[in-house]
């Protein structure tokens, strides 16, 4: 009759805290084995949504189905998931072994089976030697992996990660995110992760759910969310962006200040006020051929050195007061001898422009 039911399906989820509505009409499907990130600023409801999936909060309305089962009204203990919290919540007075075995002791009576399962899990997270240690003897990143091993110990169908990396320092964070991702792919466990870090979401997820003020703004692959943001909020929240206020001149033409850009994907009646969103990398310094459309004469206002790339703020002729931010490679800047005050030509890839009503 129908395609296989998604592994996890949220329908019309709503959550009220008194008069405040934290979540509104949340609709989402997650396929078996998928890695989904809830991304949004703090207070957008992403953690609440995760806790509702876990049954740690009860939704005010709406249904949740997991693995073909309606779990909307089930308490956490009757659902099937493992969870890792931002604080890890490792039991500090139990050894790593006892922490990982915590959920196993209840189910399997066979001690040898528990021992071999714990050993297997510690191997999996790359800490085979740590069984006898207490959590306080481990580094933050190691604690994180133990929490992951504990959550995976009972082979749950769903893995929930609540900002699992935000308590770690930058280098460990970058390293662990690849590790978690590859572990997830190896085990094929359906995973939902909450994060406010867009880079984390972009690099780890199969699909990103961008949330704002209790609603889902966009669901899509990292590339979709980045390249084709569905709302101004998404464009602004994910990645850097230039926002230009303008008007529609004609279908496919946007006028900003005295300049008009052709090839933009916009329609609607001429004269409508719009905001055009443009990524810094969609304004390029080369190659520019003679006669290319959408070329700007610009002057460098400020250069922020970031390493191999620099964030360059330019003021372009005809755009009025609105400055643009572009990425230019350090090599290009030095080859051309560019510095603050220098003039240069820039080409706007107008087809990449996202145009929204203002």
């Amino acid at each position: 009759m129908q395609a296989a039911e998604p592994f996890l399906r949220l329908e019309g989820i709503r959550k009220d805290f008194g008069a405040f509505t934290a979540l509104r009409d949340i609709r989402l499907e997650v396929a078996q084995g998928e890695f989904v990130c809830f991304l949004g600023p703090s207070g957008c409801g992403k953690t609440t949504l995760l806790r509702i999936v876990a049954g740690l909060e009860a939704q005010t309305a709406g249904t949740i189905r997991q693995g073909g089962r309606d779990i909307s009204a089930l308490p956490p203990a009757e659902r099937d998931y493992g969870i890792v919290f931002q604080s890890y919540a490792l039991f500090p007075n139990l050894t790593v072994f006892d922490n990982v075995a915590y959920g196993l002791v209840n189910r399997r009576t066979d001690r040898a089976a528990i021992r071999s399962r714990v050993a297997e899990l510690l191997q999996l997270v790359g800490l085979p030697e740590s069984a006898a240690k207490y959590p306080a003897q481990l580094s933050g990143g190691q604690q994180q992996r133990i929490a992951l091993a504990r959550a995976l110990a009972t082979s749950p169908g769903l893995l929930l990660l609540d900002e699992p990396l935000s308590a770690l320092d930058a280098i460990v964070r970058v390293h662990l995110r690849q590790e978690i991702r590859s572990l997830q792919q190896r085990l094929g466990v359906t995973t939902v992760m909450v994060t406010h870090d867009q880079e984390e979401a972009l690099s780890m997820a199969d699909r990103i759910v961008v949330m704002n003020h209790g609603v889902i703004d966009q669901v899509g692959t990292p590339i979709e969310v980045y390249r084709e943001p569905a709302t101004p909020f998404v464009a602004d929240f994910v990645g850097k962006v230039n926002m230009l206020a303008g008007t529609v001149e004609a279908p496919g033409r946007v006028k900003v200040g005295a300049r008009s850009f052709s090839g933009a994907s916009c329609n609607g009646s001429p004269g409508r006020a719009v905001r055009a969103y443009l990524r810094p990398e969609d304004i390029v310094a080369r190659p520019i051929a003679e006669g290319d459309p959408n070329v700007l004469e610009a002057r460098i206002d400020k250069i922020e050195f970031l390493g191999s790339y620099c964030l360059v703020r330019v003021v372009a002729e005809g755009l009025g007061e609105q400055p643009l931010t572009v990425y230019l490679s350090l090599n290009y800047l030095s080859e051309q001898g560019l510095r603050a005050g220098s003039a240069l030509k820039l080409r706007v890839l107008a087809e990449r422009m996202r145009v929204f009503d203002s």
């Binding site: 329908e11 876990a54 308490p75 203990a77 007075n93 959920g103 240690k133």
Partner: protein, 570 residues
């Protein structure tokens, strides 16, 4: 099949797991117990105060009758000014002492601190007995006192002095805490701006400690106005509210006026309670996570002055304590000062205080064990289980009330409530069980707050993790929560034990000849004209409390080694 019906506005209710249901039942049991042993008795007092002797509602008539009795109205005024005076002395005195402990580099800080806390180990009336030996009719320094213009120690002077001694440690604890919560960065900033010492004190130190000072003043006032033992022993003909309650209820069986006085005693305690809650919130918000703890630096003159002050205060305290001990070992004061155990023999054997002492130990033991279990279970259920929100807030609220209820008032409520023939719990009246329950309730709040603090320090997600691993909450309670919290449990238990040993106010209404406790026996000895034996028994109680403290210290150390090994591994 998979068509999902839209919820269509119907609220989703999560099914309650049976383990959560169990938690709710336990929580309900705690709530019920608090209603029966706290709310019930308090309601009985309120009811009694607006009824006549035959149980008819008379509105505020009892209150009018009270004020129409000049002797009673005078007690109200006596209580107020005596308490104000004692507070006015004890708070500055304790402040300087606390300042020395928290902000100077004087030597022997630990010793000074412990000596100042010693009064907590004995019933408050120990100080009164001791003052009688110093300044009473046959007192050593009676002439000095009279030279200062005080005719007799019996009455207001004795009450004020004894209260200062016994309330000092309470004020000190609060003030040391307040002064320890200083942010060093403020002082560094002040110093960088070239601020003088005095200006730093008035612009940084005092504002930082003002809530602590307010709290200490309120607590001191309440403790003094509700204390029964001291005015009973040294008050003479000087009547105060606390002694009035006793006379009205036990002597004249005028329950209605007794209830009226109880309500007067409840008022300052309630006010203290409200102010204290407010203060606590302010105090904690003052110190942010980024504050740097203040560490005093040596300053010769200042440290010397502080040491001198602390030596003086501890000398006075030891004089009070020492006199009681000395008098208890003297053959016949003041004529034959040779060593004798006569008073101990007289007290323990002839006056049968031995049995009372055993009763005290029994009371303290069961309060310290059952009380700790109940309080910790209650705090755990409130803090760490899911669902049953209204039950949770109910228990939370009831758990804080005992702080605002003086022992005398609670004890009176127990008479009204449990002595009523129609109360199905009437069979408990005058039993040791009721004494234990009353004492647990009397000191419930401090134990509860200690437990809550310890529980709040645990990761809030332990229970969520357990649920996701399908481990029932009691297993996590047993394997994780309880082991981590054992140091707090030891603290709570010690607090219960010491207070059960020394309490008078609540139990004075509730004992029978079989369940009389030692602190009450001391009162009786004193009334019977045996101050030496009374002193001896007070010393024994202090010794037992001290022994208990040492025992708890050892238990604490053992427990720490067994359950807190993971902390050391950092």
């Amino acid at each position: 099949m998979s068509a999902v019906l839209a919820a269509g506005g119907a609220r989703v209710r999560q099914r309650v797991h049976w383990t959560d249901r169990t938690a709710h039942l336990l929580l309900a049991a705690i709530a019920l117990a608090l209603v029966a042993f706290l709310a019930g008795p308090l309601a009985a007092i309120l009811a009694q105060s607006v009824e006549d002797a035959r149980g008819r509602f008379v509105g505020l008539e009892n209150f009018f009758a009270y004020f129409a009795t000049p002797a009673l109205a005078e007690s109200l005024w006596n209580s107020v000014w005596v308490s104000l005076l004692a507070t006015a002395v004890v708070v500055p005195a304790a402040f300087v002492y606390a300042y020395a402990i928290a902000r100077s580099c004087m030597p022997l800080k630990g010793a000074f601190r412990i000596i100042a806390l010693v009064p907590l180990l004995a019933p408050s009336l120990l100080a009164a007995i001791s003052l009688i030996y110093w300044f009473g009719n046959q007192g050593v320094l009676k002439d000095w006192m009279q030279a200062l213009g005080i005719e007799s120690i019996y009455g207001a002077p004795g009450i004020v002095l004894a209260e200062i001694f016994s309330v000092f440690p309470h004020a000190l604890i609060i003030l040391v805490t307040a002064l320890s919560l200083a942010d060093a960065r403020l002082y560094e900033a002040a110093e960088a701006l070239g601020t003088s010492r005095a200006r730093k004190f008035f612009t940084v130190t005092l504002p930082g400690a003002k809530y602590g000072i307010a709290s200490a003043a309120m607590v001191s006032f309440t403790l003094v106005i509700t204390d029964f033992g001291i005015p009973k022993v040294i008050g003479g003909n000087f009547n105060v509210l606390a002694t009035d309650v006793f006379k009205l209820v036990i002597g004249q069986h005028d329950f209605q006026k007794g209830a009226v006085v109880a309500i007067f005693l409840l008022a300052p305690a309630l006010l203290t309670f409200v102010v204290d809650r407010f203060v606590q919130r302010k105090q904690t918000s003052m110190l942010t996570a980024r504050a740097v703890p203040y560490a005093p630096r040596p300053q010769k003159g200042f440290d010397l002055a502080m040491t001198a002050y602390c030596v003086l205060v501890t000398a006075l305290m030891l004089a009070v304590l020492g006199m009681a001990m000395f008098a208890s070992f003297v053959k016949f004061w003041p004529y034959d000062l040779s060593f004798s155990l006569r008073h101990y023999v007289l007290g323990l054997v002839d006056m049968e205080v031995g049995a009372a002492f055993v009763n005290s130990l029994t009371l303290a033991f069961f309060t310290a064990t059952a009380g700790t279990a109940i309080v910790f279970a209650g705090a755990y259920l409130v803090e760490k289980t899911r669902g049953a929100g209204w039950l949770r807030s109910g228990v939370q609220f009831l758990a804080l009330i005992p702080m605002a209820v003086p022992g005398l008032v609670l004890g009176l409520g127990y008479i009204f409530f449990f002595n009523a023939p129609q109360n199905p719990l009437n069979f408990l009246y005058q039993t040791m069980t009721l004494l234990v329950l009353c004492t647990v309730v009397h000191f419930y709040t401090t134990g509860h707050l200690t437990a809550v603090t310890a529980l709040k320090a645990l990761d809030a997600e332990f229970e969520s993790v357990s649920a996701s691993l399908k481990v029932p909450f009691w297993r996590t309670f047993w394997r994780v929560t309880l082991p981590i919290c054992t140091p707090a449990l030891v603290d709570i238990s010690r607090y219960f034990f010491i207070n059960a040993m020394t309490t008078i106010s609540a139990v004075v209404f509730l004992y029978s000849p079989d369940t009389k406790v030692a602190s009450i026996a001391i009162l009786n000895l004193d009334e019977a004209g045996e101050p030496g034996a009374a002193a001896a028994m007070a010393v024994l109680i202090a010794a037992a409390s001290l022994a208990a403290c040492i025992a708890y210290l050892c238990i604490g150390w053992l427990v720490e080694r067994r359950t807190q090994a993971w902390r050391a591994s950092k």
